[in-house]
């Protein structure tokens, strides 16, 4: 590549891709529940993105493109390291969904008030990957279903059902932490 083209590529990349560093970091931070791991992931993501910049179609959603690289990097790194917990968690989400339709759970507000930010991070980190991804993107990053569907490459209906189950699971976890923190819920 001629020098001027190379520096043009560099400039384009810096202008288009780098501004999303905070978004990627935030997402990675919540997925890994660790600032250090998140930084590593983001760094690797940008390296890959830079190497494959030519395969990014200008004018398409750059956030979604970067996000997919981040997510694949994450999956490759962490699926290799631990396979077990996700399957177990997924089972419990399934069971939960069958057993309860949500009725009879106490109002959340008071229970949630007793929680620390760390509890919430841990609870989110304990969600299975697919569910955690949509909960973070929707509830924390504030993306629409359509955007999430583009990010994770699945139908909008799947986004909704993962969100539903993810939140259900999260709520159960959070109530459990609240109980441990000494919040006695009145209906028990």
């Amino acid at each position: 590549m001629p020098k001027h083209e190379r520096s043009q590529k560099h400039k384009d990349f810096e202008e288009e891709a780098l501004p999303h560093l905070d978004l990627l970091f935030n997402f990675a931070r919540k997925m890994t529940n660790s600032s250090e791991d998140a930084s590593d992931l983001v760094q690797e993501t940008y390296l890959k993105a830079y190497r494959f910049w030519h395969s990014y179609e200008k004018g398409t959603n750059i956030k979604a493109w970067l996000f997919r690289i981040l997510r694949n990097t994450y999956i490759n790194r962490y699926r290799k390291e631990s396979k077990g917990p996700d399957e177990v968690d997924f089972e419990s989400v399934q069971n939960l969904n069958h057993k309860s339709n949500g009725h009879g759970t106490p109002p959340l507000d008071q229970a949630l008030g007793s929680l620390m930010e760390d509890d919430v991070s841990t609870a989110i980190a304990s969600l299975p990957d697919d569910f955690r991804t949509v909960v973070i993107l929707c509830d924390i990053e504030g993306l629409s279903y359509e955007e999430i569907a583009e990010f994770v490459e699945c139908p909008i209906g799947t986004v909704r059902s993962r969100l539903h189950r993810g939140r259900r699971f999260l709520r159960t976890q959070l109530l459990e932490y609240a109980r441990k923190r000494g919040y006695a819920n009145k209906s028990n």
């Binding site: 590549m1 001629p2 083209e5 190379r6 520096s7 560099h10 990349f13 810096e14 780098l18 560093l21 905070d22 990627l24 970091f25 935030n26 931070r29 919540k30 600032s35 930084s39 983001v42 760094q43 940008y46 390296l47 830079y50 190497r51 494959f52 030519h54 395969s55 997919r68 690289i69 694949n72 990097t73 999956i75 490759n76 339709n101 949500g102 009725h103 009879g104 759970t105 109002p107 959340l108 507000d109 949630l112 929680l115 930010e117 919430v120 991070s121 989110i124 509830d139 924390i140 990053e141 504030g142 629409s144 279903y145 490459e153 909704r160 969100l163 539903h164 939140r167 709520r171 959070l174």
Partner: protein, 273 residues
């Protein structure tokens, strides 16, 4: 309908993602069901709580610096593609006489920096790793060869082979529009091993803006139509020419197994020569 069938609608309502019709449908139910109303309230509380508690953290300042440094390192290290350097050398006004020398320098740089060359085999091996490591997801995932065929037909000027091979599941395809021309890539799963077919137009081989091929490999392809190489890491590469298409198959399988699969999809493969 029982309450379970309203649960996902509640989720959609909390996120403001229902159609007018869904909204009406749900509110009719909520009017008469205290249980679902409290479910709705809980989900709203949770969403609000998450948003408030998990406010974004800005990326650490040193991360931006680390990423920028990485990129600068990449830019300095990248020698560009073989073809681009060739063009670069060629376009300089005084360069024509010095072309041979320039080419030698380019080759030396590529050799010294160890960058993957423009060679079809090197490129297929590199892309195989990227695709199977999921650095890239397939653009078009379909287990239906006809659908994938249509995808490629609209985008390539050579026929893309999508053989139906025994015990192999078609996973999908990617079109790599890299600076060296279009490469059609088709990925299969065979008992959880991958078979990756990287295909380019035979006529564009070695031309400007396309991939190159080693002279002796080309010679053998012209003579026998088939070229097999086992890499030091055990990966196999099989090259063959079919009409206007040059196909490079890469897999972790042994070359015998790979050829067995390939011939199950194209019986002519071994009988052609």
């Amino acid at each position: 309908m029982n309450c379970n069938s309203y649960q996902e609608l509640i989720t959609g309502a909390v996120d403001g993602e229902l159609t007018q019709e869904e909204k009406r449908f749900l509110s009719l139910h909520l009017e008469g069901c205290a249980g679902c109303r409290s479910e709705y309230d809980s989900e709203i509380s949770l969403k609000t709580f998450l948003r408030e508690t998990m406010l974004g953290h800005d990326a650490p300042a040193d991360l931006l610096k680390a990423v920028s440094d990485d990129l600068r390192g990449q830019m300095a290290a990248s020698p560009g593609s073989w073809v681009d350097r060739w063009k670069e050398a060629f376009s300089a006004p005084f360069a024509r006489p010095a072309l041979a020398l320039g080419l030698t320098v380019v080759l030396a740089i590529i050799f010294l920096t160890g960058q993957p060359s423009n060679d079809i085999i090197d490129q297929s091996l590199a892309r195989y790793e990227m695709v199977t490591e999921e650095t890239f997801t397939v653009q078009y995932a379909s287990s239906e060869p006809a659908i994938l065929k249509t995808f490629f037909e609209a985008r390539t000027d050579f026929p893309v082979l999508i053989p139906e091979m025994k015990d192999c599941k078609l996973l999908g395809g990617v079109l790599d529009q890299n600076p060296n021309g279009a490469v059609a890539e088709v990925l299969y799963d065979h008992a959880s091993e991958h078979i990756f077919l990287s295909q380019i137009s035979w006529n564009s081989l070695g031309k400007e803006g396309s991939l190159s091929i080693e002279a002796d490999v080309k010679e053998q392809l012209l003579k026998e139509n088939l070229f097999i190489r086992t890499m030091p890491n055990g990966n196999s590469v099989v090259l063959w020419k079919k009409g206007a298409t040059l196909c490079a198959a890469v897999s972790t399988m042994s070359s015998d197994d790979l050829i067995y699969c390939l011939t199950s999809g194209d019986p002519e493969l071994l009988s052609q020569h």
